[in-house]
Amino acid sequence: MSNQQKSLLQVRDLTTTFHSKGRVLRAVDGISFDVRAGEVLGLVGESGSGKSITLRSIIGLARDYGTVEGKVYWKGEDLLARSETQLRSIRGSQISMIFQEPMTSLNPLLTVGLQIEENLKAHTELERAARKARAIELLDMVGIPSAASRLKDFPHQFSGGMRQRVMIAIALASNPKLLLADEPTTALDVTIQDQILQLLLSLAKDLNMAIVLVTHDLGVVAQTCDRVAVMYAGRLVETGSVRDVLKRPQHPYTLGLLKSVPENIPPRTPLYSVPGTPPALDALPQGCAFAPRCLKAEDVCMKSKPPLLVIDEGISSACHFLEVAREEVPA
């Protein structure tokens, strides 16, 4: 691949399975993607499509409850081959993660200051006073007013948006090069959503940090991302630059998602929605997982899974009925 060198993170054939009551559930099914330094990659899909599990698999949090296979290269080294202890030195320092629910993602019993300083203590040599100074600097950076006086406050003394800022401050404490953001704005008011996204973007730019932004909102993708990867039932169905994917989506699922974003429609028009619901993990169809909901589906779709094919420079798609299919994406 041409941009191999620029890739910060290379995910190859990542597969995460859960074992439940004797059945094997495949939450992430052999996905591959790259994250380049400083870029914002949107990972889009419905609930249960495996987006969050993908993030958790990358930094080894999913190992607790499932089996993670494949390769995740970080600076040329496979993270999945690392032990828990070895991973710990990367988590929170080089790769950080923020979660969806600011209400439940901060420990309610510990002061915000302590929760920031924990990270610094784990990953830096800073002394107590320096850690405190850095914590204030971080709170200030994420836009929390009178930061110094808020270190001793507990999470419940902050509003939802402020808590999300605190979480970002914690995640960025040790200057990570990659931020995994798991629906960071879903739980927030629309006005606050925009502020948080703008904050993330400006921080990413200032700190030269890449972001993998998990979201189910294509509007958010259009606003913030450089590239987008669309997930369905644990597989990637389309990847490409945001401009290409949103302008000329190849996959019927992406098209459906796009049509369900209300835009320039007269009042009282029923919103479009993709018919049906995503398949349950224990009842995945043999062929293309989207086939039962797809308007274009034919016999071949029921029988075999379409591979992710490069259509042209900007876009790859996994559908049996692509207009110009060229070559398979190298794994």
Partner: protein, 313 residues
């Protein structure tokens, strides 16, 4: 500060509890069948002698006056004279408080020592062999009557192996530890089963919490995640339960102290009931009520210390 005002408000709440307990005690004792004068006098006493005793005890006074005197005397530290021991009730009780307090704290300490680590091991091996082994052995502890466990321990550890004395309290701290080992263990086996079950499920629940995932994603060491993030949150519900079981444990001392011949408040209570020693029963009931209130107060303080949302709201 706010912590202080919380403490004061919580202390003030004890006053109405205390008054209510006084009313209940007063009524209960008067509802007991039998005449205390007869119990105090010997069998050959004449009606005139009985009348004299009643007058001395104030039993001929109107009901409300009796209650008034009861409250007034109690507040001034006068709980009357024990019929059984022929000594001031307050003195008798004060002498015995350390024994029961020691036994209770000892039992609580043992429960925590037994239940805490095992609950963690069980939770971290959820549904594994260790978890199942730990849970089923505690199940046995829970479903066996306390006095039966006590007798078993007495038979094997004290009577046969002679590792522990069969009764008594001793005089030094180490002797206390040695003498009270079996009664404390008997109680602890039961309480620790309750605490273990609760703490285990609390730990399992907290391990799944988003903030624990977030703490792990920060790259914190396992000991920091478990000790600082998991344990503290899991303790909140367990502390409540522990407080409640200490309350139950106090009334349990009636049985334990009798089985193990421990000269504490529980055994005294049983003796007082059999002797129909009204002043002593009243004094002891009040003492138990105050001790339980203090335990609940302490539980609330620990809760507030653990959970900032309680002390700041």
């Amino acid at each position: 500060m706010s912590s202080l005002s919380y403490l004061v408000s919580r202390l003030l709440q004890i006053i109405p509890t205390f008054l209510l307990v006084m009313v209940v005690i007063f009524l209960l004792v008067r509802m007991l069948p039998g005449d205390p004068a007869i119990a105090m006098a010997d069998a050959k006493a004449t009606e005139a002698q009985l009348e004299l005793i009643r007058q001395k005890l104030g039993l001929n006074e109107p009901f409300f006056m009796q209650f008034f005197y009861f409250v007034k005397n109690t507040l001034s530290g006068d709980m009357g004279t024990s019929i059984l021991l022929k000594a001031p009730v307050l003195d008798v009780i004060i002498e015995r408080i350390p024994v029961t307090a020691f036994l209770t704290l000892y039992a609580v300490g043992l429960s925590i020592l037994i239940a805490g680590p095992l609950a963690f091991v069980a939770a971290l091996n959820k549904n594994g062999m260790l978890d199942i082994a730990i849970r089923s052995s505690f199940q046995v502890g829970l479903s066996t009557p306390v006095f039966y466990i006590g007798l078993l321990l007495l038979t094997f550890l004290a009577a046969s192996l002679r590792l522990f004395p069969v009764g008594g309290y001793g005089t030094t701290f180490l002797e206390h530890l040695h003498h009270l080992m079996l009664p404390a263990l008997t109680v602890a086996l039961y309480t620790s089963a309750i605490i273990m079950r609760n703490l285990r499920s609390a730990v399992i629940e907290v391990l799944d919490a988003e903030y624990v995932q977030f703490a792990r994603s920060k790259g914190l060491s396992r000991s920091v995640v478990l000790g600082r993030h998991v344990l503290r949150n899991a303790l909140i519900s367990t502390v409540t339960l522990l407080g409640l079981s200490i309350g139950a444990l106090m009334s349990g001392t009636l049985v334990t102290e009798t089985v193990f011949a421990v000269p504490g408040l529980g055994r005294l209570m049983l003796e007082a009931i059999f002797a129909r020693d009204y002043p002593l029963i009243q004094g002891l009931t009040l003492t138990f009520a105050v001790m339980v209130s203090l335990v609940f107060l302490f539980t609330d303080m620990v809760q507030a210390w653990l959970d900032p949302r309680l002390r700041l709201s």
